[in-house]
C-alpha cells in the first residue's frame, strides 16, 4: 500500500484489543476494518446504510460501519461479530442462530447478530413485534426472517 498524504494512523479498541494501523482519510469504518485491519466479519451489502450487513457496536451503540468515517472514531470502542464469542464458547445468540437454522447463506448473519446483541442489551425480553421493528434495518433475502426472529426470542428466553 502506497502511503499518501491522505493516510492517517487509525487507533481504536476493536473487540477489546488496542489496534493501530494506517488508513486513508477517505475510508469508511467498514473499509478500514475490512481492507486495512483484516477484520472481515462486517460485510458490505450496500455501502449506504440500507442493509445492515456491516453493523458494528460503536461504544455499545448499533451503527452501520459503512456510514461512519474511520477518521471519526479514533480512540473509540468497536465490537464486531468476531468479538461476540468468548474463549469459553459461542454467545447465546450465536448458539441460537445455529440451533434455529437462522441463516442460509450467512452473509447477513454478522449484522443480525450485532443488531440483536444491541437489542437484547437494551431490551432483554423483547416481544416478537419489538424484535421485528428493531431488526427492520437488517436485510435478509434467504430466510424470510422467520427463523431469525425465533432465534433472537429464544436467546432472550434463555436470559434471566
Amino acid at each position: 500500500m502506497t502511503t499518501t498524504s491522505s493516510s492517517f494512523i487509525f487507533s481504536a479498541t476493536i473487540n477489546g484489543e488496542q489496534r493501530e494501523f494506517l488508513a486513508d482519510e477517505r475510508d469508511s469504518l467498514l473499509e478500514a476494518l475490512r481492507e486495512r485491519a483484516g477484520i472481515r466479519g462486517p460485510k458490505e451489502g450496500c455501502n449506504n446504510g440500507n442493509c445492515g450487513a456491516c453493523a458494528v457496536l460503536l461504544n455499545g451503540v448499533l451503527v452501520n460501519s459503512c456510514c461512519v468515517m474511520a477518521a471519526e472514531v479514533t480512540g473509540e470502542q468497536i465490537t464486531t461479530v468476531e468479538g461476540l464469542a468468548t474463549p469459553e464458547g459461542l454467545a447465546p445468540l450465536q448458539q441460537c442462530f445455529l440451533e434455529e437454522a437462522a441463516l442460509q447463506c450467512g452473509i447477513c448473519t454478522p449484522g443480525f447478530l450485532i443488531a440483536s446483541t444491541a437489542l437484547l442489551a437494551e431490551n432483554p425480553h423483547p416481544t416478537e413485534e419489538e424484535t421485528r421493528f428493531w431488526l427492520a434495518g437488517n436485510l435478509c433475502r434467504c430466510t424470510g426472517y422467520d427463523k431469525i426472529i425465533r432465534a433472537v426470542l429464544k436467546a432472550a428466553d434463555q436470559t434471566a
Partner: protein, 761 residues
C-alpha cells in the same frame, strides 16, 4: 395423502447444526470480497449513463497515467469471440453477447452497462481513475417496455437479430431487424375444438415488473493470471464450473488452464450464474501481473445484474359449467434485457402445469430491450406465467360459482396425465397439495376485520437434475472426508453429509464436508434449479455404497471369509459367526483403523447425471388487510404448503420455503424497477427497491407434504424454487377478496392501490 411408506431413517429428517454454521456466526467464513492476496490490486468499473448509445470515443490514457493505476481494460482487450451457445445449467449464454455485456463494444445497451475497468493500488485510486476515462456517446432512441419493443417501429438494439421461430405451423419471421429473438409454441390437442366445447371462456391480461434477486452480497471476483499462463479465479458464484466454462469461452483459453476457487456465497437465487467481474479481473491481472480483486457497488448490482424479465401475459381458459377445463391459451412476452435469453421457455412449460387440460397452446416471445441482461431467478420464468393463470382461474371460479380450490382439484394434474409437452407426469403431489390447502385450518378459518381478504394460489416447478460429482475418503479415525463441487448457498453441506451418513450408518458430524475448487473434484453443475440435494444425494448414495462394498471386502480378508458372506448393517460390517459361534461384527471406526494395514486407505469418487427429478407443487394461503388511507397492505397470516418429497433437514427445507414465499410477497406488493424518461434506473438502492423487511411480515407457517420422489434413494424432490411461484397470485386474489378490485399488474404497490381507491377526478 402424506406418504406412509417412508422408511425409518436415523439421520434424514433430523435437524442437526450445519457443518459450516460456526464459521458463519463468528465472522470466520470467507466470502469472495473477504479474499486477501499479497500484492492485490483493487478493480472498479465505469458504467454507461445512457440507456442506448453508440460509443464514438473512448480514451483511457489519462486514467492509465494516474499514479497508482496499474491496468485499464476495455472491450478491445477481449479476443474476438464467435456466436455460440454455452449451457450454464439454468439458462444458456452466447459468448459473443457475453463479451459485449462484460464490457460494451460499439454500443451501450442499458443504463449501467460496463464500459471500462481499472485496477489500482486501492479502491479510492481506482475510483479516481474512472473519473479520468473520457467517453463520448451518440445517444440513441431506447425502448424498455416489452410490448413496445415488439412493435415494428421500435428502436432496434441489434441490427443482425432475426426472430427464430420454434412453432410448428407458424410462418417464418420476415428477414428484417427486430427485437423479438424467439417465438416458441407448445401445443397439444385441438385448441379451437376445446374452446368450442366450453360453456364459459375467460381472457385476461397481466403485466409484471422486472424483479431483482436481491442477494445481500454484491457480485465479486478476483483473479491472478500467472505468467505460466494459468488463471486462478476466486469468486462467490452458484457454479464454479459454469464460471470456468464462461471464462474459457470469453478469454479463449482452455478450461484446464483455469482454476475457479469457490468462496462462500452470500445469496444468488439464480443471479450468480452469469459472470460479470471475473473476466475483467482476469484481464486486469494479465495486464498488471498482479492479483486483482473486484466487487460491485449495490447501484451496479441493480443496474447491470440480475433481474428477472418484466412480462406481458395474456391467458384464455375455456370451461364447462361443471368446472372442467376444455381449452387454454397463453400468450407470454418476456423481455430478456439487452441480449436474448429470457426464461420464457420455462414459463411456457409451467403456465398450466398444475392442471390437466387436453387442448392447450402456449406462445412465448423472447424480446430484447434496453435493460440489464436478465438472468435466472428462482423458478426462472414460472412466477409470471403461473401468476397470470392463477389469477385468471380465481376469476373463472367466481364466474362459475365454484370454490376456487374445488375448481383446481377438479382439473388437477396427476400421475399419468399429460404435461405441457404431452409427456405423462410421474408420481406428483399436485392433488395432495390441493387437498392439503382445502383442508388446512387456515383455509377453513373465519376471517374478521375491515378490508381484510384471503387468497390462494398454486405453484409448480420442474426441479432440475444436471450433474454432480464428489470424492470421499475414509479417515483412519473412522470418519469421512467429503469433497464436493457444488457451492453451499443455504445448507447443502448439511444435506449432503446427512445423506452420506444415512447410507453409512454414521452421524452427520462423522462427515467432514468440504466445497473444493474445480481442479479438486469432478464436474458439478450450478447450485440452482432445486437440484443440488437431489443429484448430490445420488452421489452420496453412490459414494456410500462404494465405501460399504470396499469395507465388506476388507472385512472378508481380515476374517478370512468369502466376500459375499459379509454384509453392512447399521454402521458395521457383519460376517458369519466365527468357529466359536460368536458373531463377527466391526464398527465403521474399528475397520477404518485397520485399513492402512489391509490394503490402504479407501477413497471413492462418483458422478451422477440421473434424469429422475421430482416435480414440485405448492399451495399458498394468505390473509391480508388493506389500509385505505395509505394503500399499505399488511400480511396478517401466511401458510405455505408444499410437496417436498422427503425433507432431509426439515429446518432448512422450511427456511427455503419461507424465504421463497417472502421473495414472492415482495414481488406482489413492493418490488419494481423504476426507469425515468431517459431510460435511467431511478431506484438502484435497497431503500428504493423495497424488499420485505422483518416488520413487514408475520411468521410464515409451513406445512411439508412428503410424497417421496421414486427416482431418488431418499425421495428428494428439491424445494427452493417453487415457493416463489404462488405469492403474487395468492396476494392478488386476496386483494380482490378485501377490496372487490382485480389488479392486473405486479407489484400492487400502495400507489397502485390508492389509484383504485381514491376518488377519480
Amino acid at each position: 395423502m402424506v406418504a406412509t411408506d417412508k422408511p425409518a431413517y436415523k439421520v434424514v429428517g433430523t435437524r442437526p447444526v450445519r457443518p459450516d454454521g460456526t464459521d458463519k456466526v463468528t465472522g470466520r467464513a470467507e466470502y469472495g470480497a473477504d479474499l486477501r492476496l499479497d500484492g492485490m490490486l483493487y478493480g472498479a468499473v465505469l458504467r454507461s449513463p445512457h440507456a442506448h448509445a453508440r460509443i464514438t470515443r473512448l480514451d483511457t490514457s489519462k486514467a492509465e497515467a494516474l499514479p497508482g493505476v496499474l491496468a485499464v481494460a476495455t472491450n478491445a482487450d477481449f479476443p474476438r469471440v464467435a456466436s455460440g451457445n454455452l449451457n450454464l445449467g439454468e439458462g444458456t449464454a452466447n459468448p459473443m453477447w457475453l463479451v459485449d455485456n462484460l464490457l460494451a463494444g460499439e454500443k451501450v445497451l442499458y443504463h449501467g452497462h460496463a464500459v471500462a475497468a481499472v485496477a489500482a493500488i486501492d479502491q479510492h485510486v481506482a475510483e479516481d481513475a474512472l473519473a479520468l476515462i473520457e467517453v463520448e456517446y451518440e445517444v440513441l432512441p431506447f425502448v424498455i417496455d416489452v410490448r413496445e419493443a415488439m412493435l415494428e417501429t421500435a428502436p432496434i438494439l441489434h441490427d443482425d437479430l432475426r426472430t427464430a421461430v420454434r412453432a410448428a405451423g407458424v410462418a417464418p419471421a420476415p428477414d428484417r431487424p427486430t427485437n423479438v429473438a424467439t417465438h416458441l409454441r407448445l401445443e397439444k390437442g385441438d385448441l379451437d375444438a376445446g374452446f368450442a366445447e366450453a360453456d364459459v371462456v375467460i381472457e385476461r391480461e397481466f403485466e409484471t415488473s422486472m424483479f431483482h434477486q436481491g442477494y445481500i452480497e454484491p457480485q465479486n471476483g478476483s483473479a491472478f493470471w500467472n505468467q505460466d499462463g494459468n488463471l486462478t479465479v476466486w469468486t462467490s458464484v452458484q457454479g464454479s464450473f459454469a464460471t470456468r466454462d464462461q471464462l474459457s469461452a470469453v478469454l479463449q483459453i482452455p478450461v484446464s488452464r483455469i482454476k475457479v476457487v469457490p468462496m462462500e456465497i452470500g445469496g444468488g437465487f439464480g443471479g450468480k450464474i452469469n459472470v460479470y467481474l471475473e473476466p475483467l479481473a482476469a484481464i486486469l491481472s494479465r495486464k498488471s501481473k498482479r492479483p486483482v480483486k473486484m466487487w460491485m457497488t449495490r447501484e451496479a448490482v441493480f443496474q447491470a445484474t440480475g433481474p428477472t424479465s418484466a412480462t406481458y401475459c395474456r391467458v384464455k381458459i375455456g370451461a364447462k359449467r361443471d368446472g372442467t377445463f376444455t381449452a387454454a391459451h397463453a400468450y407470454l412476452a418476456y423481455e430478456a434485457g439487452a441480449y436474448p435469453g429470457s426464461p420464457v421457455g420455462a414459463g411456457a412449460q409451467c403456465a398450466f402445469a398444475p392442471y390437466n387440460i387436453a387442448n392447450q397452446v402456449v406462445d412465448g416471445f423472447d424480446v430484447v430491450v434496453n435493460g440489464p441482461k436478465t438472468s435466472a431467478y428462482r423458478a426462472p420464468g414460472a412466477p409470471a406465467s403461473e401468476y397470470a393463470v392463477e389469477a385468471t382461474i380465481n376469476e373463472l371460479a367466481e364466474m362459475l360459482q365454484i370454490d376456487a380450490m374445488d375448481l383446481r382439484l377438479k382439473n388437477a394434474s396427476r400421475e399419468g396425465t399429460a404435461n405441457a409437452v404431452g409427456a405423462p407426469w410421474p408420481t406428483i403431489g399436485a392433488e395432495a397439495v390441493m387437498n392439503a390447502v382445502k383442508n388446512h385450518p387456515h383455509y377453513t378459518s373465519e376471517l374478521h376485520g375491515d378490508d381484510v381478504g384471503r387468497g390462494v394460489a398454486l405453484g409448480f416447478w420442474f426441479n432440475g437434475g444436471m450433474e454432480s460429482s464428489g470424492t470421499a475418503t475414509v479417515t483412519a479415525d473412522g470418519r469421512v472426508s467429503l469433497n464436493m463441487g457444488t457451492v453451499d448457498i443455504g445448507g447443502s453441506r448439511a444435506s449432503h453429509a446427512m445423506q452420506l451418513a444415512e447410507v453409512l450408518g454414521l452421524e452427520m458430524d462423522d462427515i467432514n464436508a468440504h466445497i473444493v475448487d474445480t481442479d479438486s473434484t469432478g464436474y458439478n453443475g450450478v447450485t440452482g434449479g432445486s437440484r443440488v440435494t437431489f443429484q448430490g444425494g445420488w452421489v452420496m448414495h453412490d459414494l456410500g455404497m462404494a465405501i460399504r462394498q470396499q469395507l465388506q471386502e476388507r472385512a472378508a480378508g481380515l476374517w478370512d471369509v468369502a466376500a459375499d458372506a459379509v454384509t453392512y448393517d447399521d454402521g458395521s460390517v457383519v460376517g458369519p459367526d466365527d468357529a466359536d459361534g460368536q458373531p463377527r461384527r466391526m464398527s465403521f471406526k474399528e475397520i477404518a483403523s485397520k485399513l492402512s494395514n489391509s490394503g490402504g486407505m479407501i477413497t471413492v469418487s462418483a458422478t451422477s447425471k440421473r434424469n429422475t427429478q421430482g416435480p414440485a407443487f405448492a399451495g399458498h394461503i394468505v390473509d391480508l388487510q388493506v389500509d385505505r388511507d395509505t394503500g399499505k397492505v399488511t400480511i396478517l397470516r401466511y401458510t405455505a404448503i408444499q410437496d417436498v418429497g422427503t425433507a432431509i433437514h426439515p429446518s432448512y427445507v422450511e427456511g427455503q420455503i419461507q424465504g421463497g414465499a417472502v421473495q414472492g410477497i415482495g414481488m406482489a406488493l413492493n418490488e419494481e424497477y423504476v426507469y425515468d424518461d431517459q431510460g435511467r434506473l431511478r431506484n438502484s438502492t435497497f431503500l428504493d427497491y423495497r424488499m420485505p423487511v422483518a416488520n413487514d411480515l408475520p411468521m410464515i407457517d409451513v406445512q411439508l407434504i412428503e410424497v417421496p420422489n421414486p427416482g431418488h434413494p431418499f425421495g428428494v424432490r428439491g424445494v427452493g424454487e417453487v415457493p416463489i411461484v404462488p405469492p403474487q397470485a395468492a396476494i392478488r386474489n386476496a386483494l380482490y377478496d378485501a377490496l372487490g378490485v382485480n389488479f392486473y399488474q405486479t407489484p400492487v404497490s400502495p400507489r397502485v392501490i390508492l389509484d383504485e381507491l381514491l376518488p377519480k377526478d
